[in-house]
C-alpha cells in the first residue's frame, strides 16, 4: 500500500501560486502540441488556401502507426517516429492527390467535403484496425525533477524541446531555403508562381506532406506523453487546430504557433480554476469570438 500523500500541504497562499505555476507548465506542454498541429494545418491552408478536416485523423494515424511499431514490432522509439513520419506524409499525399489535385477545377466546398469524408473514413478505419479500446505501451515510465517545489517530468521537457526544434526547423526551411522560397511564392500567388515556371503541383503535394507529417509527429508526442493511443485521439486536437489557426491568423505560421500556446495555457488555467469540463468551451468559444469580431486573428492579414 502506498504511503499517504508525499506532498506536504502548503499554506493557502502558496497553494494558489503553486496551482498557477503547475497549470502554466501543463499549459505550455499542451500548447506545444496545439502549436505543432496548428502549424501543419496552417502550412497547408496558407499554401493551398483550403481547409483539411482530416488533419486530426492524420495526427491520430501517425500516433497509431508509431504505437504499433513499438508495441508489435519491438521497434525503438526512433523507428516508431520514422514510421509515423512516413505514414502521415504518405497519408497527406493521398489526401492531397484525391481531395485537392483531382478537384482543382471544383469549388472549394467539394474539397472541404472530401476531407470531411476522409476524416470519417480514417476514424472508423482506425477503430476497425485497432479496436475501440485505449492502448498503451506497457512499462513506459518517465522520470522527473523538481523546480521551485513543482515536479516537472522529463516527458514535458521532451515535448517542449521537440516542438521548439521542429519550429526552428520549419522556420529555417520556409525562410532560408530554396524550397521554402518556392512554397512562399506559391502561397502568396500561385498563378504568378506558375507563370514563373514553378511546378505548383509539386509544391502543393510537398506542402501537404510536410504539414501532415508535422501532424503525425504531434500525434506521436501526445500519444507517448499520455501513453494513451486510441482511434478518437485526433478529433479534438484536429478541431483545436482550427481554433489556433483562426486565432493566430489564417495564413500566419508564427501566429498559429503563438495561438497554439495561448490556447493551451488558457485551457489549463480554465481547468485549474473553473472545471475540467470547461476546457473545450474556452477554445471553441475563442474560435467563435475571433470569427465574429476579428476574423483575421491576431497576426493575419486583412481578410
Amino acid at each position: 500500500m502506498k504511503g499517504e500523500g508525499d506532498f506536504p500541504a502548503l499554506p493557502a497562499s502558496e497553494g494558489k501560486v503553486d496551482l498557477l505555476f503547475e497549470q502554466l507548465i501543463n499549459g505550455i506542454t499542451q500548447g506545444s502540441i496545439y502549436a505543432l498541429i496548428a502549424l501543419g494545418f496552417t502550412l497547408i491552408f496558407g499554401t493551398l488556401r483550403l481547409v483539411t478536416f482530416a488533419h486530426g485523423e492524420v495526427f491520430m494515424m501517425g500516433a497509431m502507426t508509431g504505437y504499433t511499431v513499438m508495441r508489435y514490432f519491438q521497434g525503438s522509439i526512433y523507428t516508431a517516429l520514422l514510421v509515423a513520419i512516413i505514414a502521415s506524409a504518405v497519408l497527406g499525399i493521398v489526401i492531397e492527390r484525391v481531395g485537392f489535385h483531382l478537384l482543382r477545377k471544383a469549388p472549394h466546398q467539394s474539397s472541404l467535403l472530401i476531407t470531411i469524408g476522409f476524416s470519417i473514413v480514417l476514424l472508423n478505419l482506425a477503430q476497425l484496425i485497432w479496436g475501440p479500446e485505449t492502448h498503451s505501451i506497457p512499462k513506459l515510465q518517465y522520470g522527473d525533477f523538481q523546480v521551485l517545489g513543482i515536479y516537472i517530468s522529463y516527458a514535458q521537457v521532451i515535448v517542449l524541446a521537440v516542438t521548439l526544434l521542429l519550429l526552428l526547423a520549419i522556420q529555417v526551411l520556409i525562410y532560408k531555403t530554396e524550397m521554402g522560397r518556392t512554397i512562399r511564392a506559391t502561397a502568396q500567388d500561385y498563378e504568378a508562381a506558375y507563370a514563373m515556371g514553378i511546378n505548383i503541383d509539386l509544391v502543393f503535394m510537398l506542402t501537404f506532406a510536410l504539414g501532415s507529417l508535422l501532424g503525425g509527429i504531434a500525434g506521436m508526442l501526445i500519444g507517448f506523453y499520455y501513453n494513451a493511443f486510441y482511434h478518437t485521439m485526433g478529433s479534438v486536437p484536429g478541431l483545436k487546430a482550427f481554433c489556433a489557426c483562426i486565432l493566430g491568423g489564417l495564413t500566419s505560421l508564427g501566429g498559429a504557433v503563438v495561438a497554439g500556446f495561448i490556447l493551451g495555457i488558457i485551457e489549463n488555467l480554465a481547468v485549474g480554476y473553473i472545471s475540467a469540463s470547461y476546457r473545450d468551451l474556452f477554445s471553441f468559444g475563442i474560435l467563435i469570438l475571433v470569427l465574429i469580431f476579428r476574423p483575421r486573428g491576431l497576426f493575419g492579414r486583412e481578410v
Partner: protein, 355 residues
C-alpha cells in the same frame, strides 16, 4: 385559345400530377400494408431525415452557403420540446411548433453575427456552434441533465388521442414531411426563392441589383432552423430519450453526406439522399455495422465522381402534359442568372422540356 371548362381543367390537373398523386397515395396508405413495426420505424427515420435534409438544403443548396453544424438546431428543437412538455406541461400540439420557433430564434441569434462572414469563416463558425451546443448540453446539467440526457419524454397527444403505435408516428412525420416539402416549394418558387438563387449564383451581382444578401441569408437560415427544430421535437417524442450525443457534428456530417449523395438545390435530391442513406444500411447487413464509414466513402466518392449529387441542380418535375393542355409545363432551368419560368413568356429552351 384555351376554352377549357372547369371540369376539364380539374381533370387536366389530376392527369398532370397523376404521378405525384400516386406517390402520395402509396405513402399515405403505407401503414395499411406494412404492418411490421421494424419497417415502419425505418420509414419514420427516413421521414425525419428528409425534413432535416430539406431544411439544410435551403441553406447549402439554394443559398449556396456551407453550414456544417446543422445538428445543433435539431438538438435545440429536441431539447426544447422535451423541456416544454416535461417541465412546463405544455401539450405536444403546442410544443411542436414552439420548438421550431425556439430553434429559429437561435438560428437568428447565431446567424446575426456569423452570416456576414464568408466562405470558410462562415463554415467554421457553424461547426463551432455545433460543438458549443453539445458542450453546453453536457455541462448545463441544471437545464439538460447533462450527459444523463432527458428520459421519459411524453408520448404525443393530439386532441386527446395519445399515440400508441408506429402508425401514429408515421402519419405525424408524413404530415411534417408534406408540410416541409410544400412550404419549401412555395418558398423556392416565389420571388424570395429567386433572390436566393441569385445569391447562390453570383452574390456581388445580386447586391448590385438591390438584393440585401445578408438579409436574405438571415431569413433562409431562420426558416431552415425552424424545420430542423420541428424534426428535433418529433425525435424527442418518438424515441422519448435524448442526450447530447445525438446532436454532434458527426450527425451534421451525416446530413452533408445525404445532400452530397442525393444532390441539393432542388427538392428531390435531399429526399433521395436521406432515403438512401437511412435505408441502405438496413438493407445490406455489412453496412449496418459500418454505417459511418459508408457515409464517409459516399462523401468522397460523390465529390470525385459527381459532386452535384445524383439529382443535380436542375429542378425536376413529374408532371405529365395531358393532350388537351397546350401550355408548356416543363421544368425550370437555371441559366446563369436568368430564370425561365412557366409563367413568363420568355425564352424557351431548345424545345426539350423533360429531363
Amino acid at each position: 385559345m384555351n376554352q377549357t371548362s372547369v371540369l376539364k381543367r380539374g381533370a387536366g390537373w389530376v392527369v398532370a400530377h397523376i404521378l405525384y398523386l400516386l406517390i402520395f397515395a402509396v405513402f399515405a396508405l403505407l401503414p395499411l400494408f406494412v404492418k411490421d413495426a421494424y419497417y415502419l420505424r425505418i420509414f419514420i427515420f427516413i421521414g425525419i431525415y428528409i425534413v432535416l435534409a430539406l431544411s439544410l438544403n435551403l441553406i447549402n443548396g439554394y443559398t449556396g452557403l456551407l453550414s456544417i453544424g446543422h445538428a445543433a438546431f435539431y438538438g435545440i428543437g429536441a431539447y426544447s420540446s422535451a423541456l416544454l412538455t416535461l417541465k412546463m406541461g405544455l401539450p405536444f400540439l403546442l410544443a411542436l411548433p414552439l420548438s421550431g420557433v425556439i430553434a429559429a430564434v437561435f438560428g437568428y441569434l447565431i446567424g446575426k453575427p456569423t452570416l456576414r462572414l464568408t466562405g470558410i469563416f462562415l463554415t467554421l463558425s457553424t461547426l463551432g456552434f455545433n460543438i458549443i451546443f453539445v458542450l453546453l448540453a453536457i455541462n448545463w446539467e441544471g437545464l439538460t441533465r447533462g450527459p444523463l440526457g432527458i428520459a421519459g419524454i411524453p408520448v404525443p397527444e393530439i386532441f386527446g388521442y395519445a399515440f400508441q403505435g408506429q402508425e401514429d408516428y408515421y402519419y405525424l412525420i408524413f404530415f411534417l414531411v408534406l408540410f416541409t416539402l410544400g412550404s419549401t416549394y412555395r418558398l423556392i418558387h416565389s420571388r424570395f426563392g429567386k433572390a436566393l438563387l441569385a445569391i447562390r449564383e453570383e452574390e456581388t451581382a445580386a447586391e448590385t441589383v438591390g438584393v440585401h444578401t445578408v438579409h436574405y441569408k438571415m431569413a433562409i437560415f431562420v426558416i431552415s432552423t425552424f424545420y430542423a427544430g420541428l424534426a428535433g421535437s418529433f425525435l424527442a417524442h418518438y424515441i422519448r430519450f435524448i442526450a447530447p450525443d445525438n446532436f454532434t457534428f458527426w450527425e451534421s456530417f451525416t446530413l452533408l453526406a445525404m445532400l452530397a449523395l442525393g444532390g441539393q438545390g432542388n427538392l428531390i435530391g435531399p429526399i433521395a439522399g436521406a432515403s438512401a442513406l437511412i435505408a441502405l444500411p438496413e438493407i445490406f447487413r455489412f453496412l449496418t455495422d459500418h454505417r459511418m464509414i459508408f457515409y464517409g466513402l459516399i462523401l468522397i466518392a460523390m465529390m470525385l465522381f459527381r459532386r452535384e449529387g445524383i439529382f443535380s441542380r436542375r429542378t425536376y418535375s413529374l408532371k405529365i402534359t395531358p393532350p388537351w393542355e397546350e401550355k408548356e409545363t416543363g421544368p425550370q432551368y437555371l441559366v446563369g442568372d436568368k430564370f425561365l419560368d412557366e409563367d413568363s413568356a420568355q425564352e424557351k429552351d431548345d424545345g426539350a422540356s423533360k429531363n
